[in-house]
Every structure is written in C-alpha cells, then in structure tokens.
Amino acid sequence: MMSGRLTDKKGRPAVVVTGMGIVTSLGWGKQENWVALKNGRCGIKSISRFPTDGLKTTIAGTIPNRPGHTPENYSACDLSLAIAEFAAAEAIEQAGIGGAGSFPGPLIVATPPSELEWPHLRRLYLANDDKQQTGYRGLRTAARSGEFANLARHVRFAAIADALQSRFGTLGEPLSVCTACASGSSTIQFAVEAIRRGEAEAAVCVGTDATVHREGLIRFSLLSALSTRNDPPQRASRPFSRSRDGFVIAEGAGALVLESYRHAAARGAEPLGVVLGAGEKADCYHRTRSQPDGAAIIGAITKALEDAAVDPEDIDHINAHGTSTPENDRMEYVSLRSVFGGRLSDIPITSNKSQIGHTLIAAGAVEAVIALLSLQNGIVPPTINYRDPDPEIPLDVVANTARKVSMRTVLSNSFGFGGQNVCLVFAAEPN
C-alpha cells in the first residue's frame, strides 16, 4: 500500500491510477503487451487487410486477430470501438470499481476521425437507381431511404463515446476529444482537472484509433510523414536513428481508471501509480511543424513539471513521443535538451513507437499505460532498431533491449499535428 498524503504538494486532491487496459499490434491486454514490449518484439507487419498495390507504404501496426474479434471484418469505426471497449473493460476490472455496467464517474474518450469509408460510399452509390442524380445528390437520395441508418455511426463523432457509455454506465455527458496525436494524453489531463475541481472522484480515460485504411495511408504519404522502408516491416520504425524516415501508422487503444487518492484509499484500492501533473501548450508556428526553437514543446514540458511540482532533476525516465520522423525526433531532442540541460544524457529515454508504431489519436493513452507499467516493473521497454544513433540527437536511448531502471518519476510526451502538445508526469507514489 502506498504511503503518502491524500493531497498533493499544492493542496489539490492527489490523483491515482487504479486500472489500466491496452490493445496494440502486439496483442490484447496488459499481459500480452508487456511480455512483448519487454522482449523487444515488434507488432508492425505487412498490411494484409486490403490490397496495397500502388501504395508507397505497405506496412502498419495492425491489431491481430483474437477469438471473437477479426479486425479485417471491421470498419475503422467499429474496430476503434471494439479495442476501446476491450481496454476500458480491462481497466475497470482491474480497478474493481463500481458495479456491473455502472461506473461512478465520467468517461473521456480520444476519438478517431469519423467518416464514411469507400465501401460505404459505394453501397450508397449502387443503391441509387436514378442515374440522373449524379455525385452526392444521388448518395443523399439513397440515404433518405432510411435503409442505411446503421451507417450513421460512422459519421457521428459522439458514437464511440456513446457506445462505451452504454456499456460501462459512466456518469454524465461523455467527452469526445481531439487534439490530434496528443488526444490520449488530453483525456488524462481532463480527468485530472475534473478530479482536482472536485467534480469527479473517478473517471475512465480512453484513447482509441484503428484507422489503418487505404485512404488514410495515402493521406499521410502525401504529407511525406510515413516510413517507406517496407521490408522488413519490423525494422521500419527507428526513432532517434540517423536513418529514420517517417512514422509507421498503427492501431491501438489505451484505457486508464483515474481516481482521487482519497476515493481509492477509502475503498481499499491499490494505486498502480500517480498522475502528478499535466502541461499543455499550443504552437502557433505551422500546421505540421514546431516552432524552430521548440518553444511550445518546451512550454508543455515546463508546465507539466510545474503542475506536478517536480524539478527537472526528479525525472528518472522519459517515455518519448519519438515518432521516427526526422522532424519530430530532432525537435523533441532540442526541447528536452533546453529543459534538462546536460543531465538529459543521463535520463533513460525510450519510444514505444519503435515496437508498436504510431497509434495516433490513441498514442497518449497507450503510452501512458506503458509508462506506468514501466514504473511498476522497474523496467523500460527498448527502442528497437536503434543501430545507427543520430549524432545530432545524443540521448540515453534504451537501445534494442529492455533495461532495469530505478524510477520514481516519469515524463510522457505527446505532440500533435496542428500544434497541440501535452506532457504528463507519472510517479510511483504521491509527492
């Protein structure tokens, strides 16, 4: 049992994590994921879900099959929901909180883009007999028939949160959040804020994204953001390496049950870790690039440390955003260096994206779960494929094999296209 006070250094309710769940390309659940992460395995593979001819990138971190779940039969929306449900159920079960279908707090969901996919558009297209009605006019006529009402969930942004709320019986209006690749971290930040305001004693935070489809790949390819090193797929994502050439798109879901320490202690729940603080800073420089001096990323890290009431010296490990794009990894280094100075080279850092790819909207939640598992186990999963360190970004990367690290406090970074940056500070115990 954790010792420590029920309030933090600033007199606010301390916020603890009492349940976690995760689904990635490495597997379903904490057990499968942790074993694979620890052993340096990679979940990235050649895409088999749809034909990839003509695509520059033909690899992704897709969710493996599991009894009862065959991802290739799902739409992006349905798979995002299926893995979110699995992760949330795992987290709530571990927390042992509430009753069946009744969770005593709000739900906050980082929700992926909702849109009709080509097979849906094609069904609508074929359903309209009046070929005088061209383009979207014809599609609308098909929609008007009411026969396609079950497709509406694909274009409703509240649909995933709504389905999760129905399943888990959370309180109030669920939040659906998008801060691009920082979204998962935002859900944790919003829950911490709500608990500190005294509005909630507990919350479920979920990040989910299963949008590996052809058009998604083409779009990111056009931004020159994806690795094209298709063979072998396991070697493509190589954060902090000189030869890194882009990120690998991936699917995943992470879920955390957050509680006020007071609430957890009162019901005898064992905290898995503490969320000491969160920091957020928006960039105003460019839609896909950070300010060259890293001001916004530095701002997010600094605000997170301030909010957590810890000094840079207190950080024992960094779970990096580390996308494996030339731009991100360099900017992340420059910003970390500015905050941590020379000590940066002594802080073990890793990027889970080398093993699981970039789970986009879900990344902050997925990697928060991994950061907390690292804290709990005293082991940092490796940054695999780290064979040609980029001399421009000298870091203590946990290279290729997992490392035992004595940790009390961990920083987790998430940065999004569109300039939204969120950093979180986790600890083993309240400070």
């Binding site: 003509g54 609308r140 942004f157 209006e173 928006a282």
Partner: protein, 412 residues
C-alpha cells in the same frame, strides 16, 4: 475545489452567420423578423440550408498563405474567433494572447466531393478497387486538404492566425461538442484553472458531404422552410445553418483588472446524456438539470433561447420540459434561434450563449420566430432582461443547459 468558485463573465463575442457579420449586425437582424431567414434553396434540393452572409475573410485572416490552407468551415471559425478576440480587446496583445486558452467544438473537415464522385464513377465501370490507390487518389488528394480535414486544425489555425497559445482543446460529438466546450471553459475559469478562454465552434452547412452524413440518420428537413417548432409533427428534421460563434470567457477579477466590460455572467453550464431508449428520458434529464441549477432562483418569467433543432423526438421532449416549467412557477418565454439562423450543430450551443449574452447586455429579448405557431409568445415588458436559460439538445444525443444573468457593468 474548496475555494469559492470564481465569477465567469463573457467579455467578447464573435459571430458570423447567415444574417450578419459581427455583434451589432446580429442584434439588428435577429430583431428584424420581417426580413426572412437567408436560405439557399436550390443548390442542395430538396434540402434548404441557411447560407453564410458574404464575408471578406481576409479582414481577420490577412495572409493569403493561411487562407489557402483552410477549408471554408475553418475560415468561418478563424474569422469569428478573431472577431471575439477583437471585441474583448485581446487581439494584438501578446501578453494576453499567451494566457488565452482555446477550446473549440469541431466536426470533421471537408471532403473533396468532386474527387469522391469521380472515384465512385470509376469504380462503377472498373470494379477494380486498386484504381483508387493507383490512379485517382494520389493525384486528387492534396496534402493541404488532408490537413484541413483534421478536426483539431480549426484550433490549430486559430493559434497560428491569432496567436492564441496557452492551451488548445478540441471537443467533438455534434451538439455535445459545443456543450462540452463551453462547459469545460466555464468550469476551468470558475475553479481558477484558467482566467481567459476563447471558446466556440463553426459549421459550414453548405457542404455535400456533411448533408449526406446528417441524412444517413434521416435528420434533415426535406421540405420548404418552416420554423423549428412547426416541423415536429410535419416530418421532423433540421435545417443546417452556416455559422461561426466564439466567446471570450473570463474570470471577473481578470476582466476588471484589465478594464474589460462584460456582456453577461455565465452562472453555470450543466450537461447530461439521456439514453433515449424510451420516450421521456430527454425530458427527465432536462427536468433534473433544471432543478439542480435553478434551485433557489425566484420564480416568474424566464427568457429561454432554445437550441432546438426540429428533429422530432429531441425537440418535442424539450418543448414538453419547457411547458412543464409552469409547474415550477417559472414562465418560459421561448425563442428557438435555429428558426432564424439554422441548426449549427457543433457551433449551436456557443451561438445560443452569444445571443443570450447580447440580449442581456442590451436589456431586451428577441421577437418570436415561430410565425403562425403557438410556442413563442411576446416577451412581457417588465424592466430589463435579467436572466436567460440557454438549452441545447443534440439531434441524436446529449443535452445541456446554461444559466446566464445580467451584470451591473454592461457594455451597452
């Protein structure tokens, strides 16, 4: 929080809709019911939409390179956000902008519907799905267009164009997005977690892809124009409206310290989500929220700016809730502002708050918009307007209420 909640003021409003550009134009246009709504009737036939007034976006988005990066919904949003910052006296003040938090309610960006149609036609003759990847999409999709499709890029563009950088959040989920956004802003200011927040949303209703999405659930009104309340038993459905609605929400102390005037006080925002599996659940949720927020308030007339959409179940249960306020000794005087401006989905709740703040500041209420109907009665002339209830009931999910009051130091 143990501390007393901070008083939350609205110190800036930015509006761009089918009826006006800026606060003053809206006050006049919302009063002038003789001039009907501004509808686009032919382009999306059989559906009508409220089309955006002609706007020179470069007044708020001066750089051509910025404008080129944005689709119309983002332009509308960035433009109205700029109006709000200007109105609050924050625009061009770097020290204030760096402290201004941004909360945006957004849907998705726009698809290139011409490309979609081209692909669908090609697939009909070739039945070769790889045609997508190989031939059409790589040349037809533009990287900038993809960025415009990301929901959080409205917020991203506001940060870039107006330098709002303290933090940036985007909420999603149709009408719930707008309710969540305003609620998040108000709660953070009340709890001292933020002092200055720019919050709002935008909708471009003149979009083929958006209309298709709404119509999948058969949610659109597919006949000639009628006010909101007159659609419930005549087929049901909403008429989308193009709009940008942004508010500057500020802690009273902060506003007073910098000499900023208020439009109104935002007393509280509450929200919930009825399951809607049985009739009556929406009304029950609204009843429960009303009792919570109006406990201890003096009974009597209460001005209501209703965000009703015209989608039958949601709007009928809202009307039942409003009619039932009599039993609690409140006399609601209802205005469905969507009759005038269309249903603006993500932007609709912020829009209602903006119109309520404007009315509280001017001390008068809007005329009935329910021409030929029985729901909207004239406002009893008894002193200045001092309180407004804003309602938001999502066309398929979510409901919220905002309690707003007149402040003593109004701007007008």
């Amino acid at each position: 929080m143990a501390e007393e909640p901070k008083e939350v003021w609205i110190t800036g409003i930015g509006l761009a809709t089918s009826l006006g550009d800026g606060v003053r134009e809206h006050w006049e246009a919302m009063a002038d019911v003789a001039a009907g709504p501004a509808l686009e009737i032919e382009r999306f036939e059989p559906y009508c939409v409220h089309r955006l007034i002609d706007i020179n976006f470069s007044k708020q988005i001066p750089k051509k390179s910025d404008l080129r990066q944005m689709e119309r919904w983002q332009r509308i949003g960035v433009y109205s956000a700029g109006l709000a910052l200007n109105d609050a006296g924050i625009a061009g003040e770097p020290s204030l902008l760096a402290l201004t938090h941004l909360v945006v309610a957004a849907g998705s960006g726009e698809r290139d519907t011409a490309v979609d149609s081209q692909v669908l036609d090609a697939l009909a003759t070739r039945a070769d799905t790889a045609v997508l990847a190989k031939e059409i999409l790589p040349s037809a999709l533009r990287p900038t267009l993809f960025l415009a499709q990301l929901s959080n890029l409205l917020a991203g563009n506001i940060s870039i164009v107006h330098n709002v950088t303290a933090s940036s959040r985007t909420f999603m989920g149709e009408e719930m997005a707008g309710i969540s956004a305003v609620e998040n802003a108000v709660r953070r200011v009340a709890a001292g977690q933020a002092e200055l927040v720019l919050v709002g949303g935008a909708l471009n209703a003149e979009r083929e892809d958006l209309l298709l999405g709404y119509e999948l659930g058969c949610n659109l009104w597919a006949n000639s124009y009628r006010p909101v309340w007159q659609r419930l038993e005549a087929g049901s459905g909403f008429i989308p409206g193009s709009a940008g609605a942004f508010l500057v929400v500020e802690a009273r102390e902060h506003a007073e310290a910098r000499g900023a005037k208020s439009y109104a006080r935002l007393k509280c925002v509450v929200s919930d989500r009825a399951r809607r599996s049985k009739p009556g659940q929406i009304r029950e949720s609204l009843d429960g929220m009303f009792d919570k927020v109006y406990r201890g308030h003096s009974p009597g007339p209460i001005a209501v700016l209703s965000g009703a959409s015209g989608v039958a179940q949601a709007s009928a249960e809202e009307l039942a809730f409003l009619d039932g306020l009599d039993e609690r000794h409140f006399t609601p005087v209802i205005r469905a502002y969507g009759s005038r401006l269309g249903h603006t989905v993500e932007a609709h709740f912020p829009l209602g708050i903006a119109l309520a703040a404007l009315a509280l500041d001017r001390g008068g209420f809007y005329p009935p918009y329910d021409e030929g109907g029985e729901v909207e009665a004239p406002f009893p002339q008894a002193g200045a307007l001092d309180r407004v209830l804003v309602t938001g009931v999502g066309h398929w999910r979510g409901e919220g209420l905002a309690v707003m009051e007149r402040t003593s130091d109004g701007r007008a």
